[in-house]
């Protein structure tokens, strides 16, 4: 069995999808967390292919780029999708989610209070509702985005909404199929265990 070491900042951030996938696959790994202020001294001596974290070390080989890592772990956990077409569907839904997630993150990270309030209003009124309506359409009656079983696309959606509902609590009200997706993910035994045990962080 390979050894896995995930290195990221002490946040959920770009690593949380990866951690959720390790959990769903019940795959043990070392969850190394680095404090922001330690990074400048660690960066030059860290094995980072592109100078960034998260990185995943697999039996000594290091890969970077959070989605590439997540896709790799999803594969190990059997959560990629059964056919190339299923896998492409999962990829496309995750990428679409990232497009919206990027706007959300920009809003959260905005330091100027009045600009942030403006961005929060804009995201909540202009970007979030069409995204949710679109994805309600993509979700199956069974509460899965791809085929008839859990894939990393369901988990990715759950993770993203975990962040978004912290700022927009009622966002998912009325979206039957999306709520089913969320329930399916939360009731996965590995995920449920991780959600109970994971460190609580602001981001």
């Amino acid at each position: 069995m390979p050894t896995y070491k995930l290195t990221c900042f002490n946040v959920r951030g770009r690593a949380e999808l990866i951690r959720l996938l390790f959990a769903a696959g019940e795959i043990p790994y070392e969850d190394v967390r680095i404090e922001w202020d330690k990074w400048p001294e660690l960066k030059p001596i860290s094995d980072t292919p592109m100078g960034q974290i998260p990185t995943l070390e697999v039996d000594g080989q290091v890969i970077c780029q959070s989605m590439a890592i997540a896709r790799f772990v999803a594969g190990k956990a059997g959560l990629l999708g059964k056919t190339n077409m299923d896998q492409a569907r999962a990829d496309m839904l995750l990428d679409g989610g990232m497009d919206v997630g990027k706007l959300f993150t920009e809003m959260v990270m905005e330091k100027d209070a009045s600009k942030k309030a403006e961005k929060k209003k804009e995201f909540g009124e202009k970007h979030l509702p069409p995204f949710l309506a679109l994805y309600e359409g993509f979700a199956g009656d069974n509460g899965h985005f791809v085929g008839d079983s859990l894939t990393w696309s369901d988990i990715g959606f759950f993770n993203m909404m975990d962040f978004i509902t912290a700022e927009y609590p009622g966002a998912l009200d009325g979206y039957c199929k999306l709520n089913k997706v969320i329930d399916n993910v939360k009731s996965n035994p590995g995920v449920a265990k991780w959600l109970k045990e994971r460190p609580v962080t602001n981001h």
């Binding site: 292919p49 592109m50 100078g51 697999v58 080989q61 890969i63 970077c64 780029q65 989605m67 590439a68 890592i69 896709r71 790799f72 594969g75 190990k76 190339n84 077409m85 896998q87 492409a88 569907r89 990829d91 496309m92 990428d95 679409g96 679109l134 993509f138």
Partner: protein
Amino acid sequence: MPSYKLYYFHGRGRAEPARLMLAAAGLPYEDVRIEFERWPEYKPKMPMGQAPVLDVDGTMICQSVAIARFIAKESGLAGKTNMEQARADMMVDGFGDMVNKMADYVWYEPDEAKKAEKKKTFYDTTLPEFLGYFEKLLVANNGGDFFVGDGLTHADVFFLSLSDDITAEKPDVLGPYPKLAALAERIKTYPGIKEWLAKRPKTPW
């Protein structure tokens, strides 16, 4: 054999990696180029209201990287093991970060002065840092004939596409990175890609 239709605008843009991948895979496809004025007719039919979209026997996939990776997997050019595929994906994402930085000033910055400043920062600071990483990663793969394993993957194709874009703006940008420059030249002669490059429409972007 499935029938493939690729929908995009009349340019390389975000569709070119998929076109290059189809060429490398030797897969025939209909290269639908939509005039901007006609886009409103097509938009509602696209899964996320955007292009590019690949129609595979009536099933539509969107998101440019997902499309290219699908074609790569269908033709056995995505990496032979899970780890090779992850390495290819990581390279593609790294190149994508550069493409997104360019899109930022080319497409999304309306202010001319800010545009020029962002472009300068990109070429003076951001791009050199990452080209340095990419050169090192290429060399680390057995001297650097391909980014991953011992054959073409979508990583090499996405690099060619990035190289096209950056050398169009700065012809000598790969000068300090001999292995990257050599790879781009070599991939241009890959069977299928060579023919496509000779016949593809010449567009400003």
